[in-house]
Subunit: 343 residues, 2 copies
DNA sequence: AAAGCTGATGAAATCGATTGCATGAGACCT
DNA sequence: AGGTCTCATGCAATCGATTTCATCAGCTTT
């Protein structure tokens, strides 16, 4: 009712319960160290005053912000939003807040310094390590070893904490699905090549083709950048081909979406004229026309696991060495975009 | 290199520049109050020590966290992710961090208290006021008038700070587009009814129909809840109708997506068998099959404006009365999902 | 009954930055 | 030259919670 009064502090509670602030503090953080009788009085005083802890003061004293940063290359991407959801949830359960940092394209590292050097946050979940993770590592180490966990598709330096999907194997299984349907002419629309890392999905594709003794046609290996428009562009290419593949494995769903879009415009249909397998299983995949066959990543689990690992690292429950590593298995979801080839 | 050393404080800088901490503090927050010579010495000292401000200490002293909370009903929704992007960007430019709070469905208000009562955040951007905004208002007021801005489709209580799109008018224009194509049998798939508020999009639809002397058929007024599956379900309904509308205005793109999906499954096609107009222009709308005709909301602007307003409220540059109000005009984007009716 | 122990509690320092008040040096005025 | 004013700067209190160390009451032990 009475607006703009300053919120009650631990002092108010102490006075109200006729104890010292030290006792109140203990009652809150380690109740077993306070006698039952005083604890009750303090509980009452807290209720009576409507006290809530001042985070800033606690952070200052404890040198811990109870906050993590989640760094995304692109919040707008539907793939990441589900993950964000899981991260916020998991962090919340441990009493941590989640700050969002959207990547500054021009400044691969500086943009993160502020959060940690100013003790605004205790750790970082970094998605999509297209930035120079080792450089970041040394930057963060210089100011007191900020723990961070990377969630990425490509396997990065072995000393990093990493949560990933079994991209290589999943890609092999995606190809296997097409082969099982009878396809032999199979193309691939890959994501971008990141630094010198092995592109796991492309590698899986290539090895699966070899394992099946299928010809790898250079024209059928196209490169995109994970957004729908690059799938659209790849389809332009596809349409110009005189000898077209009968199936295509796309490195993510958005590119598949863009590809279908262009192919339909040209009067061809999927899966009659070309079968398509995507990757991710974004929430809309199920409702596309045709519904998209795709490799589902456990996005919830990616978010949850990485956050859980980060927090146990922050709180010292997990030792920094050896690094945390987790690989989640993807799951093939068969829908309408794949069918046997129309001879 | 030397890991886990404590970060330099303002004390270190002061010592290094042979001045008091007070002077360093002033050099940082109001440089004009410090002589040029000392300012230079301080700048050097800052560079030499690698000093960065400790946010927790500043927050405690200034009673201000330089952080805002963005509360979303559902981070996973692609509509919100773009907005989040804009909010993070705008906040960042003012030096504010953005905490994400994903709505707890069971607890419409409590979930936000913590952020503010613990002075973790200075203000709130609340999306989709399906929660009881007035109740929230009084909750927040009880602990010192936390400023907040609502971004919502429906017009809520006049005393709230609100950023919105011209939903009513945009809906009228959507219908007008269908009418101009020659449609007379037009249906509507609405979003959920929120409390006692007027559903702006539905109201716009109804009034446009009346203005054109078109019959409002009860069967053709369907209700969904803004997710694709509810569009899918609505299409089931549609397919069972003996007398079907030739066009449908959907209250958002996701429902349109679900609707098309089911209709295609049944062997009908859009726009030949039914024209469809969506709302929002989510990033994928352009790449659907067929590309979706839709009312584009300026999502970037919604995010930017609301954040800007919130921050000027926090910093006292804007007076709380009268409340901030902004309505953004939507824009019709004509694509392939609408066509003249097939006789 | 004296000594030792345990467990609950309080006093006060501390985290790092800000800011009201005091001080002193120099500029300016008469 | 004496007095006033301004500007740059320093001292020290302060924000609110935590934590070390000391104290003291009430037991147990011999």
């Amino acid at each position: 009712m009475v607006a703009s009064r300053r919120p009650p502090t631990i002092q108010d509670v102490a006075r109200h319960a006729s104890v010292s602030t030290a006792t109140v503090s203990r009652a809150l953080s380690s109740p077993e160290r306070v006698s039952v009788r005083t604890r009750e009085r303090i509980d009452q005083a807290i209720a009576a005053t409507g006290y809530t802890l001042n985070q800033a003061a606690q952070s200052l004293r404890r040198q811990r912000a109870k906050t993590i940063v989640i760094a995304l290359p692109n919040v707008g991407n539907p793939f990441y939003s589900t993950i964000l959801d899981a991260v916020v949830m998991e962090a919340g359960e441990h009493g941590y807040g989640v700050l969002v940092a959207n990547r500054q394209p021009d400044d691969p590292i500086e943009w993160l310094r502020d959060y940690f050097f100013s003790s605004r946050a205790d750790g970082l979940v970094l998605f999509d390590a297209t930035l120079d993770a080792p450089a970041l590592q040394s930057q963060l180490a210089a100011h007191g070893d900020v723990p961070f966990v990377v969630v990425a598709d490509e396997v990065v330096e072995p000393f990093l904490n990493l949560v990933t999907s079994d991209n290589y194997d999943a890609s092999r299984r995606a190809v296997q699905h097409l082969v099982a349907l009878g396809h032999t002419k199979i193309g691939h629309l890959s994501g971008p090549q990141i630094g010198h890392y092995r592109n796991e999905r492309t590698a899986g594709f290539i090895d699966a083709m070899k394992a099946n003794d299928l010809k790898l046609c250079d024209d059928w290996l196209m490169r995109g950048n994970h957004v729908a428009s690059s799938g659209f562009a790849a389809a332009e290419n596809f349409l110009r081909m005189t000898n077209r593949p009968s199936a295509l494995f796309c490195a993510n769903d958005e590119m598949a979406l863009g590809f279908i879009s262009r192919v339909h415009q040209a009067g061809l249909t999927c899966p009659q004229d070309v079968s398509l397998v995507g990757f991710d299983d974004i929430s809309m995949a199920e409702f596309l026309s045709p519904p998209l066959t795709t490799m589902r990543q456990k996005r919830n689990e990616l978010g949850r696991l990485s956050t859980e690992a980060l927090i146990s690292l922050i709180e010292g429950r997990r030792k920094p060495q050896p690094p945390f590593r987790a690989t989640l298995r993807c799951e093939l979801v068969v829908r309408g975009s794949t069918a046997p080839p129309c001879s």
